[in-house]
Symmetry: C2
Subunit: 455 residues, 2 copies
């Protein structure tokens, strides 16, 4: 047996007490959010109508490197963190690779993913501000679940607009949210103006994430004591998610390992941005070098085939504009696509890093991702979420390159969550009914034509 | 903050290397299994036609106190064990109790429960014997999932007969099993004689656990290189599950705590028997005293309203007879009952301990159990399985007694698993559609009249 244990846990005293703000070490800062009306950078006071004040401050702060994690959040983290850094001995053996593979597993909590790391922070600041509640949207329900858990802990009202088709076809996550006391409304609903308008124009619509965002924002802005919260893309979310990378770094240091390659799946970028934070910080400061690889689905290839430009963050075009790699805010991947990672854009921070050549990106098709997922499940005993399985596929490919070259590289990837609520997708995969969708150049060109003109 | 961490993890070097066989310290040994034909104690050679040889040896051994855990099993355990012993700080605060509450959480693996502890052991011994595969039955699918994971690890064929109604209504666990390469057959099937017979007599039947057991046993006995495996009730299973209690004991010792009350849910007894093993051992040897409380559903009250007698282990009456607390092998709880714990009988070991006054038992109704589950989920962030929630309810009640009396007792309970695949039951609870079923005295009497005559 090797001296390195299967799972590396930090003790409570070893756990990070601060989040790390990657922006502080970036020479080229991420571009600011723009007001969709004036196309001018959003000011704090404009954002504070929608978001909690402390979170706006975090959103706009490109300079402070470290933020103390409030004690209430540290205590909540202790309930489900530290997450284990796992040495994938069984996967390595199965692949016959000389590479050492580690994964940071964020799925051991009821939300089933890393989303809880930011949910609890956002709920805390809402409570601190004396708010009554928060609103949000959710698609498959992972973010909504995380937020409802966080709100239950701080006794905050939680109002979730869930895309109607998911509300009806995926009732399980909806029930998890209800268990945590959240009110879950199928979107579009008659509760908001925008919802009523959409229902009048498209009776029988099954909803979309863009529509749910618009409803959640309207509800927050029009209800006393409420604010809107978002689970990915934003700078503040990457700040909170830095806990993933910070723990990973401490665990690796503890066993005397240095990562060579760091791999994560990328939808809006919250997990990948969090995982790479301290490593990218060292790279930016010239202290260490790492290869960083973002993995995205071929069906929604923001990095690999999108454009670096200002675009709307939502399909409804009511939110601020962000400068990012985007496929156009109208782009929606084929409905047969199983997992998350369906977002048309990407975190501004990661977009800037990619644009500056500091990280790589790669896309995979759905069926090859599920093949990797099944191989991983059988070796490592964890049934991975489709999203996370993109990173697994990336790690396996890098490990197989090591097998060819004989190099003993250390590969670290983020296993963001479990697939317990994704069994319909697994069923399709087992039954041979899963198809791969890759948009044509013409399709993408069509959406990119409609990018807003900001300059 | 207290000095005791939220979660107590053992390091790999602190993990138990042996299982503990409680029977070695029992003055009154559990009664032997009887051959249903001759009513004589089953001999090893009779059992070896159905079960793996090494497991039969474990089943019949009432004297050896400690069994070395084979290295291959220790390595598998390292992938998902040690499970955390959690200090329920948030629940204590919510209840306002001076009691200290700990729970041993067995749900952080893809099978979602403690079942994997015995599944990997049984798969190991099957592999060691050179078998091609194993057969088993599963109801809701927890045991089948655990076994399929274990078989995938050892590259053994795994054939699961799943009660037809569950196969059709609960496709998700079925897909988890398929992910691990198991073949899952809805029972009754046309694959076995007993299945064909039942289908001929009852066309359109949705199956039962008793029928699935009969099919799995027939398949094992009639197929070269196969044996049958079972996830609860048997002595061997409690032996493997002792890992739960042993880890718990080491973790408590590590932080200088001594348990006063130990609580677990009881269906067939595998979790409770495993959790209490080392504590009950001390009690039997007169080294320490503990209160041990088994919690069962009011709908299936084997301990609290059953009879201590020889009975068939299966509804089909093809398996050996065991002496146990039983409601009669024909007893089936109302179909509206959500969780597991639906077994008519109980582990012979636990039955003997209860008969000898060494442990207590208590039953709860379904809705009060779900109320406890929801309270727990909101405080502690874990969505519990309905089965596990019986233990939560028991622990909360004991903690509230401490609040009244002002006693600072230490309560330890087993949280056997997560409820991610039980959301239909939670939905009924949220919608006020959950009902409580308690069998009448007459009903129970009716089934007990049919107990086999063995003396």
């Amino acid at each position: 047996m090797s001296e390195i244990p299967y799972k590396i846990y930090l003790s409570e005293s070893e756990m990070p007490k601060q989040w790390y703000n990657l922006r502080a070490d970036m020479k080229n800062k991420p571009a600011p959010l723009l007001n969709p009306g004036t196309l001018q950078p959003m000011k704090a006071e404009e954002l504070e109508g929608v978001f909690c004040a402390d979170l706006v401050a975090q959103e706009l702060d490109n300079d402070t490197a470290h933020f103390d994690i409030p004690e209430e959040i540290l205590n909540f983290y202790k309930m489900y963190r530290p997450s284990p850094l796992v040495r994938a001995y069984c996967l390595e053996k199965k692949l016959g690779t000389p590479a050492k593979i580690y994964y940071k597993f964020e799925g051991n909590n009821t939300s089933g993913s890393h989303k809880l790391n930011s949910a609890i922070a956002q709920a805390y600041y809402a409570k601190k501000q004396g708010l009554k509640g928060v609103t949000t949207e959710t698609g498959a329900g992972q973010w909504g679940t995380a937020l409802s858990m966080a709100c239950a802990y701080f006794d905050l009202d939680c109002k979730v607009y869930m895309v109607k088709v998911s509300y009806e076809q995926k009732p399980f996550r909806r029930e998890v949210m209800r268990t945590y006391g959240a009110s879950v409304t199928p979107s579009p609903s008659t509760e908001t103006e925008v919802g009523r308008k959409i229902l009048a124009e498209h009776p029988g619509t099954t909803g979309s994430l863009g529509c749910a965002i618009s409803e959640a924002v309207e509800k927050a802005v029009s209800t006393d004591g409420y604010r809107y919260v978002l689970g990915s893309v934003l700078n503040q979310v990457l700040l909170h998610q830095s806990i993933i990378g910070l723990e990973t770094k401490i665990a690796l240091d503890k066993v005397g390992e240095k990562a060579d390659i760091i791999i994560g799946c990328a939808g809006g970028g919250s997990n990948l941005g969090g995982l790479i934070s301290p490593f990218m910080g060292e790279k930016l400061r010239g202290e260490n070098d790492y290869r960083v690889i973002a993995i995205e689905p071929s069906s929604c290839p923001s990095f690999t085939r999108g454009k670096f430009a200002y675009d709307f963050c939502d399909t409804g075009m009511v939110c601020p504009l962000a400068k990012m790699y985007t496929l156009g805010s109208g782009f929606i991947p084929a409905p047969n696509h199983a997992g998350g990672l369906r977002y048309h854009g990407m975190s501004s921070i990661l977009s800037q890093l990619y644009h500056d050549g500091l990280m790589e990106a790669r896309s995979y098709k759905q069926t090859e991702v599920f093949e990797a997922a099944e191989l991983f499940a059988r070796c490592e005993g964890i049934l991975p979420a489709p999203e996370s399985s993109h990173a697994i596929k990336g790690a396996i490919d890098e490990a197989m390159k090591c097998k060819e070259s004989g190099e003993e590289k250390t590969i670290v990837f983020g296993l963001t969550g479990t697939g317990y609520f994704d069994m319909v997708a697994y069923e399709k995969f087992h039954d041979g009914e899963m198809t791969d969708y890759v948009p044509t150049d013409e399709e993408i060109e069509e959406y990119l034509k409609k990018l807003p003109k900001t300059e």
